[in-house]
């Protein structure tokens, strides 16, 4: 069996295992063989039905990236908001409602959804290359946008410990609190903290990309 034949057969093996086939350089005859393999493969039993998990994950991704709508976000009552203390009071002052209540107080991430909000452009997408983040201020909200490559997310830039405004530490790829030794990663999670008690992650802001700009839903 020659090398070309081996490569075509490997390509077919990938196809039959529903894997992404590797790159291949082939002659015209091989392209015809590949086409025949695709035709055979896709006419098999149960072919062409999308996996429900894929359908749901793409729906969520579309909600996040093109529309900025958060699926299934539950709004908290005003009483619950006040009951949840300091952070909630700070966000209420900024005109935001807490979308999901903290459970157990630490690892869960909240989502801030303003009532009667509007989209405000906070940065040009080209100004935030993959792997970087940028602080912004809309007047009502101080936050940062981070480009994670496949998605762009926005978070509050207010430390969840004492409410101090975080500072960008681009070299270390994190946000530092000027008030004590606390730092957050670009995905809002706590990197290290000054106190021993658990500290909530930074609340995520509803964001989207529109006409080349990163927009945040705010009041």
């Amino acid at each position: 069996m020659n090398r070309k034949s081996r490569r075509v057969n490997r390509w077919v093996d990938d196809l039959l295992h529903d894997r992404r086939p590797r790159r291949l350089r082939g002659g015209e005859q091989d392209v015809d063989a590949l086409r025949a393999a695709i035709e055979m493969r896709s006419s098999g039993p149960d072919s062409g039905l999308p996996d429900p998990r894929f359908v749901e994950s793409l729906r969520r991704r579309l909600a996040r990236e093109t529309q900025g709508v958060v699926p299934h976000a539950t709004r908290m009552t005003r009483r619950g908001l006040l009951a949840s203390g300091g952070l909630a009071a700070a966000t209420a002052a900024a005109g935001l409602l807490v979308g999901e209540r903290l459970v157990g107080g630490s690892a869960t991430q909240q989502h801030l959804i303003p009532e009667g909000g509007k989209w405000v452009a906070v940065a040009d997408l080209t100004d935030v290359p993959v792997g970087t983040a940028m602080l912004f201020s809309t007047g009502a909200v101080r936050g940062f946008v981070a480009n994670h490559g496949d998605t762009v997310r926005a978070f509050s830039a207010v430390c969840t410990h004492l409410g101090c405004l975080l500072r960008m530490n681009a070299d270390a790829r994190r946000l530092d609190c000027p008030c004590d030794r606390t730092a957050f990663a670009f995905d809002g999670s706590v990197l290290f903290k000054a106190m021993s008690a658990s500290l909530p992650s930074l609340p995520e802001l509803t964001s989207r990309i529109h006409a080349g700009k990163i927009e945040v839903l705010t009041v």
């Binding site: 093996d13 291949l24 035709e39 999308p50 359908v55 579309l62 093109t66 452009a121």
Partner: protein, 181 residues
């Protein structure tokens, strides 16, 4: 570095004006109506789940922000198929440098669900015109989903031989398929 939208001339106000000027697109409905047919179309063109999922994601991410809320169901479907055509061409250009499969331009002018016809009768016809060992190897591998080892055992040949027969059978099947269409 702070970027304050309030001091950006024009920028954000302009965007907001465009959004509030039109009824927003019911993208959930568009997605729900089209996800199965677009995925199926891509699956038929690439033959594996991973690529089909990647390309389907790209199509919706590209097309949804560009759809007018006032577009009809048919127009939306046609726009998605047109986007699929471009995305598929780019996929093959990147992957192999050759357009292995493409989306028929005729699909763009019809509103029917693509691909509309069942491929199985065509596959049966192709198989029926192949020499017996070629037909057998393709049936075992593609329709019965046997491994190379299982196929070789069933046919009473070595695994290496089964691979050679499979490659030749695919080439011959491609020729027969072209003669049929």
């Amino acid at each position: 570095m702070y970027v304050d939208s309030a001091v950006r001339p024009g920028g954000s106000d302009h965007v907001l004006e465009l959004i509030s000027g039109e009824r927003p697109l019911d993208w959930e409905r568009v997605y729900h109506d089209n996800i199965a047919s677009i995925y199926r179309l891509m699956y038929y063109k690439v033959g594996n789940r991973e690529d089909a999922e990647d390309l389907t994601s790209q199509i919706f991410l590209d097309a949804l922000p560009r759809l007018r809320p006032s577009a009809s169901k048919g127009e939306i479907h046609m726009y998605l198929v047109a986007t699929s055509r471009t995305v598929l061409a780019e996929h093959w250009r990147r992957r192999l440098g050759v357009q292995v499969t493409s989306i028929d331009e005729n699909l763009l002018s019809t509103q029917e669900d693509a691909p509309s016809s069942d491929q199985r009768p065509r596959i049966r016809r192709i198989l029926s015109q192949l020499p017996a060992n070629y037909r057998r190897v393709l049936e075992l591998r593609f329709l019965e989903r046997c491994s190379v080892a299982e196929t070789a055992a069933t046919m009473g040949i070595s695994a290496a031989n089964a691979r050679v027969v499979q490659h030749r059978a695919l080439r011959r099947a491609a020729e027969v398929g072209q003669e049929l269409s």
